[in-house]
Amino acid sequence: MVGQLNYFWFGPLLVFILRFCLAYRSPDRRLVRRRLRDLIDTHPRRPLLICANHMTMIDSLLLTWLLFDLRTLMQRFSYFPWNVPELANFGKNFFLRGMCYIAKCVYLERQGSVASKRLVWEKISYLNRLGESLCVFPEGGRSRTGNLNRDAAMYGVGQLVQSNPRTLVLAVYLRGRAQKTYGFWPRWGDRIWVDWKQVDVTIAEGRKAQRDITMQIFDQLEVLERGYHAAWQ
């Protein structure tokens, strides 16, 4: 409830910064949102798992802005996706911690102990079972290659889907037209490409299956990436 109230000022502030201060444009966003809303309406009680490529530090904010309209988030705050940012990057000061609290985050320590990673896993698995949306970057970090990096795949995403087969898995490709490689944020005034596909994963048991599920998500992300290059490059 506190989070939902926060959205009344945080949501418009976020949109103001992205649209007017950073002047980002995304002509297809209304169509993209409508398609997603239709999917959500078709599967109203299934938790969303947004699996996106990763190139900038503000990808999560851009994804939230571009995938959901304000009405959807006001009516169903559970669709405002939880994020799993790196503590070293987003827990540095009081301001960032405050932002992360409002924007539904679970901190991860990439170089942390096995126990700390297990705790993060328990938290996001719990949120997923509650029906909350999650946004994850299966590459683990921002791609250093300028394109999707399959070699960096983290199989935790497959483990999450395996643990709750009702999860609605979305592969989402997000990238500024001028974005050649990873960076802090897209260039001022950039046109942002966003597109998504639902991934109908084949679920089996075991550790190998976690890898297979993750690779099925990467397959769809690669299809989306080809779409980006075909359209804008």
Binding site: R110, G140, Y155, Q210, R211
Partner: protein, 83 residues
Amino acid sequence: MMNQEDIYNNVVRIVSKHAKDTEALNSINPQTHILNDLKVNSARLVDIVLDFEDTFDLEISDDDADRIATIGDAVTLVKALKN
């Protein structure tokens, strides 16, 4: 039946595929830390464990997998599971 040397050689072969610090491979030994010394991406530990399972025909639990830090740990674990 694999002896300790066979297990060690196979463990080194599997782990080496994922090492980013190829210089460190020249001085590899049982005390070599897989993440810190060989600079293996932690996400690739799962691939290494899957390769262990295929190569040595065994199953490794998550708890056991989490305990693998060095080449020696991996050899000891495989040897224990094979026996």
